[in-house]
């Protein structure tokens, strides 16, 4: 599988970039050239230079350092939000698919209802009521993006539960919980992994959009979205404030999409080109 991944050039490029950003996040203090929150009145809105490779913002803070530290926030929101979504989706989908019948109908109609809400505005509304903390953002993004995973898992479970090894386990006295956790979920995990990888990119994008609108991660904590927002008022005179975080968001989301599509081709060949 790893060999397949290296052979798929686009997916591998995506993986490399993700690893790079992960290193940024893990070793932020070593990689950042400046303190991300240090205000420097002598170098306000200075253009990219040797001291500040991505320039500074209107408070004289180093953009590169803010982006490096912001990767911690953006990535952890991406991962944890998707983790929550995958967890809910797997539980919901496997129960629905396994029990079938009325349970399945009721649960899937609930999914349909959830899909009717314009997710982004739902998130906006929830965040407006709760306070916009990093924790709340993760939970809200996770709680509004599990439906795809639930449908995927349900579809897999519907076919998997008819397999003979499930019947054999039942003859040996296995409980429903045993069958679901030991046989069904491990075999349904492939497409979920693909969907989760694609989902991380999506979650980072949602976080950026929320922060850009000012109801995401609150300053002075840097996230890619709120660095971008800081730049919008000075876009005419200081392009570097907007372009650099924008490029990082773009490349990161692109990298996750490439990796996700590569994984899909490798793990789920039958879904290719769909």
């Amino acid at each position: 599988m790893i060999l397949d991944l290296i052979r798929n050039k686009m997916a591998f490029a995506g993986l490399l970039f993700i690893v790079l950003i992960l290193l940024f996040a893990l070793f932020a203090p070593a990689i950042a050239t400046n303190d991300p929150s240090k205000v420097d009145a002598s170098s306000i809105l200075s253009a990219p230079s040797r001291d500040h490779i991505f320039g500074t913002d209107m408070l004289g803070r180093d953009i590169f350092s803010r982006i490096v530290y912001g990767s911690r926030i953006s990535l952890s929101i991406g991962f944890i939000a998707v983790g929550i979504a995958v967890l809910i989706g797997i539980v919901f989908g496997s129960v629905s698919g396994y029990y079938g019948g009325r349970v399945d109908s009721a649960m899937m109609r609930f999914v349909d209802i959830m899909l009717c809400f314009p997710t982004f505005f739902l998130i906006l509304a929830v965040i407006a009521v709760l306070e916009p903390s990093i924790f709340n953002i993760m939970v809200v993004i996770g709680a509004t993006s599990w439906m795809g995973v639930a449908r995927l898992v349900r579809a897999e479970v519907l076919t998997l539960k008819e397999r003979d090894y499930v019947a054999a386990a039942r003859v040996m006295g296995a409980s429903d919980l045993w069958i679901i956790t030991k046989h069904l979920i491990p075999n349904a995990i492939g497409p979920v992994l693909v969907s989760a990888t694609l989902g991380v990119g999506g979650a980072i994008l949602v976080e950026s959009a929320l922060s850009f609108l000012g109801i995401g991660v609150q300053p002075p904590t840097p996230s890619w979205g709120n660095i971008l927002m800081d730049g919008k008022s000075t876009l005419g005179v200081a392009w570097w404030l907007t372009i650099y975080p924008g490029i990082f968001i773009l490349l990161t989301v692109l990298a996750y999409n490439l990796l996700g599509e590569g994984l899909r081709d490798i793990l789920e060949p039958r879904l290719k080109e769909r």
């Binding site: 397999r163 003979d164 054999a168 003859v171 040996m172 296995a174 045993w178 030991k182 075999n187």
Partner: protein, 246 residues
């Protein structure tokens, strides 16, 4: 003494046309089936595909419930061996985990499970290094041996063999059949042997039941049914393989 007694089992599957409509008709998978299997013996259940053989096996195993009729079992220690060993072994599990599943479910201790698994591998003549491998790394015959090992491990008294050799090469078939016979003798197990292959059934079963469209049309000792079939369907079945049988 009978290990299994099925009395007038009926199972009808509704045929649905469209999502909201009710049943358009019923497929009579089992239409009043009664069989008995003597303890320690093998009953061969034959018939063409779709005649309800597998459904009867699953009802005896308790995987599906009959619409009416009764299954009387002398034991609750059941096991099953399926036709397609690719489908009957979880592809995400190592052989070690596949074999220990039934024992863990029986709440046996870890040390005992380890020893039993090793013995079972010897019994089905697979190397010990098979334990760390996954099902897809084995051939069809080897996989069927794994399935047999899994079945034997829980010390069942009744084993439903649902076309256990139908997906295998003819040379492998004989090996697996001999293995099944050998194990049956050693552990005095009772078999329900489901097959569409009359040659295989003659090799395995003391008694035979012939099924057509969800009904048993003829049953009796294998030798007698093969030499003087009384029902026309049995005659057709036999004449189709006559050259080889005689």
């Amino acid at each position: 003494m009978n290990m299994v007694k099925c009395i007038d089992i009926k199972k009808h599957f509704p045929i649905r046309r469209g999502y909201l409509k009710g049943a358009a008709g019923f497929l009579k998978a089992l239409d009043g089936v009664s069989i008995e299997i003597e303890k320690g013996k093998t009953l061969g259940l034959v018939g063409e595909s779709g005649c309800g053989k597998t459904t009867l096996g699953k009802i005896i195993l308790g995987i599906i419930k009959p619409d009416s009729g009764r299954v009387e079992l002398e034991t609750n220690k059941l096991q099953v061996i399926f036709q397609d060993p690719h489908n009957s072994l979880d592809p995400k599990m190592r052989v070690k985990d596949i074999l220990s599943e039934g024992l863990i479910l029986n709440k046996e201790s870890k040390e005992r499970i380890g020893g039993k698994i090793k013995d079972a591998l010897d019994l089905v003549r697979l190397p010990q290094n098979a334990l760390a491998r996954y099902p897809h790394q084995f051939s069809g015959g080897e996989r069927q041996r794994i399935a047999i090992a899994r079945a034997v491990l829980t010390e069942p008294e009744l084993v439903v063999c649902d076309e256990p050799v139908s997906s295998l090469d003819i040379t492998i078939q004989l090996q697996i059949l001999e293995l099944l016979k050998d194990i049956q003798k050693r552990f005095s197990m009772t078999y329900l042997f489901i097959s569409h292959d009359l040659r295989v059934v003659r090799h395995m079963a003391e008694d035979i039941a012939v099924m057509q469209h969800g009904r048993i049309v003829e049953k009796g000792p294998t030798r007698k049914v093969y030499s003087e079939p009384s029902h026309p369907y049995t005659k057709i079945l036999l004449s189709s393989v006559l050259g080889i049988i005689k």
